[in-house]
């Protein structure tokens, strides 16, 4: 997988664009994400049902993964079962 790849959730409407990634399995709603949507939807895991927000960036603790949510959904994002968190950057004043 390379930066720029669009991934779709198997369990909800979430879509992300990969900004940074390593070799782990990127998941949403408890199910692996893929470039195509599976014919049959995966069940939404109760442990990963916090939802995603459009335009938010999601990262892991080590800074190896960064995903941009380009379509929101009911599932939440994880890598190999470890939940990702939103990246909170100090807002900059508009400069252009």
């Amino acid at each position: 997988m390379k930066p720029g790849t669009r991934l779709k959730s198997a369990a909800c409407d979430t879509e992300v664009m990969v900004i940074r990634c390593a070799d782990g399995e990127i998941q949403c709603g408890g199910a692996p994400m893929g470039e195509a949507k599976p014919a049959e939807a995966a069940p939404l895991s109760a442990d990963f049902s916090g939802g995603t927000l459009m335009g938010k960036r999601y990262v892991d603790a080590d800074g190896k993964y960064e995903l941009l949510c380009v379509k929101p959904g009911k599932g939440s994002l994880a890598v190999d079962g470890v939940a990702l968190v939103t990246k909170d950057a100090k807002p900059l004043p508009a400069s252009d």
């Binding site: 390379k2 930066p3 380009v70 004043p93 508009a94 252009d96």
Partner: protein, 499 residues
């Protein structure tokens, strides 16, 4: 990665919200995206290698930028102020192109030259009519695709074609702008021409923040103030000459309502201290941001924010006050270093050349990349960084005057000249000298209502405040200094005056 994502996300989240106002016509995000998809069809069908815009700002700039991105063809806005022979050369370098704008001029300069030419209205009308293309056919440029190609102004040599990849521009926007952060009432007044990097980044930033873009294709201070009041503008970017004229117009008593203006950012040239001080007093509730960036860095790499402006203005500490003339601090997503002549980083306070590294930094021209092995871009701007990480610009590295092996920056000489009450503007540059290789020449503008000071007086001023090596060998009194339309001082022309 494709910069079209920015418009797609805005249209997905708020299809019916007003995205753009130009010449009284309003466009929603969904309408702009549909037109960009139509433009994508036109570009694909024409089989061109570039999409060029030879026109003032309008909706066509947005539609062409994103249409070209969807089609995987570089978008190349051209400077319509160029002289015919220069423009003809650039048209030759991008053939075959789909050119939008001044049809008559393109045909006159390039013949049919394989270009596909549309007048603005014809282009936007056709882009809107076409049934939007199938999304699956849209181009995936990966990280390496070229989104924008901008010709540099070519003040020293033939214009270079600077290249900005999708990854550079997306890195800049995603790293500095929060998606949909603007209130629905917010509006950004865009007055920089479309061929300038600030004109391109303004479109992308505002669309991603979902801040309504209001275009003013041709600047005058009266029109700017009128539009601020009518459209309740909250954000505006200006170049220093524009702010100078806006401040002057308000001082003359032009009626205006600027109460909606929360943010004014500026850049693109050196802001006179007197002007920014007046502006801060004139707009007490507005936050001012000085943005420093280059074409090759996808726009802003350092900024001096609103709090820093007010703190500097209010401070008694000369170190803090001086920050009003600084470029502020590097933004969190880039690294900046000052390097000496030996190419090694210098300690705080020491002058050198500004180097920058980061995802948004392309540092690349069509001919070759200027990045070093570790990805650093030499900006050719000379400056220094103080103990607190504030960056100060002293001029272009190429403008440094080397007199008998001693390097001096024109900026320090000009700053001293501007302290003289009878001097309104000043430029120092190198003139040939048999004895020293180079020596200092100055051109000065006398302030209205003052007698021109004597040459001896100016020489004494510089000798007292700096040192004798800075004293000019030649002094010219001129009616005004030559600036380009972006407020950049044309030192090459001053050199001609002094030659």
């Amino acid at each position: 990665m494709n910069i079209a994502l920015l418009l797609e996300m805005a249209a997905e989240a708020a299809p019916d919200r007003t995205a753009l106002v130009c010449d009284g016509k309003r466009w929603t995000y969904a309408e702009l995206l549909a037109a960009a998809r139509g433009a994508f069809e036109m570009i694909q069908e024409s089989g061109v290698s570039h999409v060029a815009l030879l026109d003032e700002s309008s909706e066509a700039a947005v539609i062409a930028l994103f249409g070209a991105a969807l089609a995987g063809v570089p978008y190349c806005p051209l400077n319509y102020r160029l002289a015919d022979p220069d423009l003809a050369a650039l048209l030759g370098r991008i053939a075959p192109a789909l050119v939008i704008g001044d049809e008559e001029r393109v045909l006159r300069l390039a013949g049919d030259g394989d270009h596909t030419v549309y007048a603005r209205e014809e282009f936007t009308a056709k882009a809107q009519e076409l049934v939007p293309g199938d999304e699956e056919r849209e181009y995936d440029p990966g990280a390496d695709g070229i989104a924008v190609q901008l010709f540099t102004s070519g003040t020293t040599a033939a214009p270079k074609a600077a290249i900005l990849r999708h990854s550079n521009l997306l890195g800049y926007i995603l790293g500095t702008v929060e998606f949909a952060a603007a209130d629905e009432a917010d509006a950004a007044l865009v007055v920089v021409p479309p061929y300038h990097i600030a004109g391109i980044s303004a479109l992308m930033s505002s669309i991603y923040a979902q801040r309504r873009i209001v275009m003013l294709p041709s600047f005058s201070p009266e029109a700017w103030l009128k539009l601020v009041g009518e459209e309740k503008i909250s954000n505006a970017f200006v170049v220093p000459t524009m702010l100078t004229r806006i401040v002057g117009t308000i001082e003359k008593g032009e009626p205006c309502d600027v109460s909606s203006l929360r943010q004014i950012s500026y850049g693109g040239g050196k802001m006179p201290l007197e002007v920014i001080q007046k502006a801060l007093a004139m707009f007490p509730a507005t936050g001012f941001t000085n943005a420093y960036g280059l074409t090759e860095t996808s726009s802003t790499i350092a900024l001096l924010g609103p709090d820093d402006h007010r703190a500097a203005l209010a401070s008694d500490d000369p170190r803090v006050r001086a920050r009003l003339t600084s470029l502020g601090q590097p933004i969190p997503t880039v690294e900046i270093e000052i390097r000496g002549e030996d190419g090694r980083p210098v300690p705080p306070g020491e002058p050198g050349e500004i180097y920058v590294r980061g995802e948004q930094v392309s540092g690349e021209y069509k001919e070759k990349s200027a990045l070093d092995a570790e990805g650093w871009f030499p900006t050719r701007d000379a400056g220094f960084m103080d103990e607190d990480g504030y960056l100060f610009l002293s001029g272009r590295a190429d403008d440094v005057i080397v007199r008998g092996g001693e390097n001096m920056s024109p900026g320090e000489i000009e700053d001293v000249l501007l302290t003289h009450p009878a001097i309104a503007d000043a430029c120092a540059c190198a003139i040939p000298s048999v004895e020293w290789g180079e020596a200092v020449g100055i051109a000065v503008v006398t302030r209205e209502g003052h007698q021109p000071p004597s040459e001896a007086e100016l020489k004494a001023l510089i000798k007292d405040r700096l040192r004798s090596s800075r004293v000019p060998d030649k002094v010219a009194f001129v009616r005004e200094l030559p600036y380009n339309e972006m407020g950049k001082l044309l030192r090459r022309k001053v050199k001609e005056i002094l030659a």
